[in-house]
Symmetry: C2
DNA sequence: CGATGGATTGTAAACGTATACGCTGAAAGC
DNA sequence: GCTTTCAGCGTATACGTTTACAATCCATCG
């Protein structure tokens, strides 16, 4: 950046962005601060002439409004928070991407809080709800029954919340939410295995507390029952929703006295763990054991064998949840409660075959 | 929630969290608002007795400080922003995890902005730097040369920034940053291939603008030169850092008149794409083409074949970057600029073999 | 007992913005 | 030319907190 003769120097030096407030702009433009504020927020309320003066002054000073003061004054931060189990899970990061797209379009920033597959502690949730650091919350992570209580009690008067991906517990049934038909999808997956002549079908879930997979388990059980197939003790197993957890669970499943010929995994992450563990044990997928996943993360099709799974429109879920939240924030009224169901799809690849035995 | 006889009703009803401010608490405790504020922020400055009174009042009213007002007054939001190419990339989400851990420990929230592997626009960066919505920035994403200019000019007076993962361009050399020795690591990876008797080694990079992979390319070239191996036109190819991009690039590489026997990929995501594309073409990894990745994301070892790659301590990078940023924020001085190098490691799995031809 | 001083508390200003309200002036209607 | 009207603008206040400074209190000491 070259030094220039002083008469050529523009007022707007990049260097000095000190503490220029609306007051300085007003002074320079020879108007009141109210007018400056109006120029920025309601330009139609101000004469062309003054607007130009003010714009000029803004440019000269390099003024930009103090976001903190604005937030404070308006009682709005234009930040939303999303609570999710893990940023690392490709499914959730896809949902996040959708959220971001919508958020950006609507002028929101997004804070996130990952619970690392644990429940969010009630304190945290409570603190979140009451501190007005955010304008709304998208809940992608499971909550303890107690938080539900907090939520339904407090949020009546406080923060807008929309629930994504999760099944909601009965108390929250009338919360706005967007998700696929988890029960139906799980049934579909299970039925597909049944249609491939499997009879000994196990299911790998999340932690017992995980609402996320409760419905999927429910759908699985329903399909099995409908087909009059038994579910042996130990076939419904906790894989922790992670690769590592799944590997451990898979070992148990493979050692089961009545080894299943197929495993339905509540997410792809676990399905990948399953496959890897099975292969490590010297068996083959799908020849020896068939696998069905859930989510259709982008690794599902590059894994070996490519994974048959339930595809969820993750981006869309995120986007819709965000837009819905926006509507809630804008109209302070309780508009449109209840679930919004987005479509899922069974995508058949090569991790399922008819059982050999 | 049942109605109860009025004499049993506790003051602290969950229902009414209306607008109780510090004033209300002060009134109830019979002290001034200054004292209430002190009780919260500097309890040692206040008598045991009054502190108890105030605590009681706080409990009674269910008061919690208005974060917005605090932020406004203090000029601090306790929010940091991290700019990264993509939340979806497991490597970056691992870095994020590290950042979150440190942030949580230090009482910060984190906003993120993903550039979808594009450069952040200068406007966005500028806006970010000037709006005081965040206390500091961790840059994980590449910037255009012009943003560098903005950055070095503005940040002198404004926001603390630390750079993670990326190589920094010369102008920013004295910015605090934490990353591995990218050049060294890339050399190591390339040398490993050379030690396995490969001579025709290609490299898949990010977009030309991507600083992220510049150093890796540099290391690769250096190693090739040192071994006196030629780099044919078309061997250094843009794989976009994504699976899809890598697949396309791999097709080009396989059709190359002088087909490489090994490909060094600047990240694992691309390596996975490579492997998948090669297998789709009916060839085998590593028999026909060897692959080395970069990052050691958690899918690297479950892919088939398990991927030989450079392991980066992603969590640690995130944590350190965050702690460093905190130090910068707290001490407003320019403490400790310059790079902080964390160790990397070549982890050998099964995606490399000696070339058959 | 009065003075001194340190600890504790209260008073009041400030942070930067948005906006209700009132004032001014000009255009429009008579 | 007078009144009416209303757009355009300024004045002043409020938002909830923190904090410099002043005021008060109490204990200790001379």
């Amino acid at each position: 950046m070259k030094k220039m003769p002083v008469d050529f120097v523009v007022q707007q030096e990049v260097e000095d962005i000190p503490d220029v407030s609306i007051k300085e702009v007003a002074r320079l433009a020879g108007v009141s601060i109210a007018t400056v504020s109006r120029c920025i927020n309601k330009p139609e309320k101000v004469t062309e002439k003054t607007r130009l003066k003010v714009q000029d002054a803004i440019y000269q000073t390099g003024y930009s409004p103090n976001t903190l003061a604005q937030s404070f004054r308006r009682g709005r931060t234009n930040i939303v928070m999303v609570v999710l189990p893990s940023v690392g899970d490709p499914f959730f990061s896809a949902v996040m991407r959708g959220i971001r797209v919508a958020a950006r379009a609507k002028g929101y920033s997004v804070i996130f809080e990952d619970t690392q597959f644990n429940e969010m502690t009630d304190d945290e949730l409570g603190a979140m709800l009451v501190s007005n650091q955010v304008d709304g919350i998208i809940l992608l992570a499971s909550m303890s029954p107690f938080s539900n209580e907090i939520l339904s009690a407090k949020s009546r008067l406080s923060l807008p919340v929309v629930i994504g991906c999760e099944t909601v517990s009965p108390e929250l049934a009338n919360f706005p939410s967007v998700h696929i038909d988890n029960i139906g999808a799980a049934k579909e997956a299970t039925n597909y295995l049944i249609s491939q002549e499997h009879q000994r079908i196990a299911m790998m879930c999340g932690q017992a507390s995980s609402l996320l997979t409760k419905d999927r388990e429910f759908g699985y059980r329903a399909a099995m029952k409908q087909a009059k197939l038994p579910i042996e003790d130990g076939w419904v197993i906790d894989g922790d929703l992670t690769i590592a957890g799944a590997r451990k669970a898979t070992r148990n499943l493979m050692n089961h006295v009545n080894r299943p010929t197929a495993i339905f995994c509540a997410n792809d992450e676990m399905a990948i763990g399953c496959i890897h563990e099975i292969k490590s044990a010297g068996l083959q997928v799908p020849r020896d054991i068939s696998i069905v996943g859930f989510d259709d993360i982008r690794y599902a099709e590059v894994i070996d064998p490519p994974l048959t799974t339930i595809s969820q429109p993750a981006d869309e879920i995120g986007e819709r949840a965000m837009y819905r939240l926006c509507r809630r924030i804008d109209a302070n009224k309780d508009v449109s409660s209840g679930s919004e169901i987005v479509p899922h799809k069974l995508v058949v690849r090569q991790s399922v075959a008819k059982p050999s035995s």
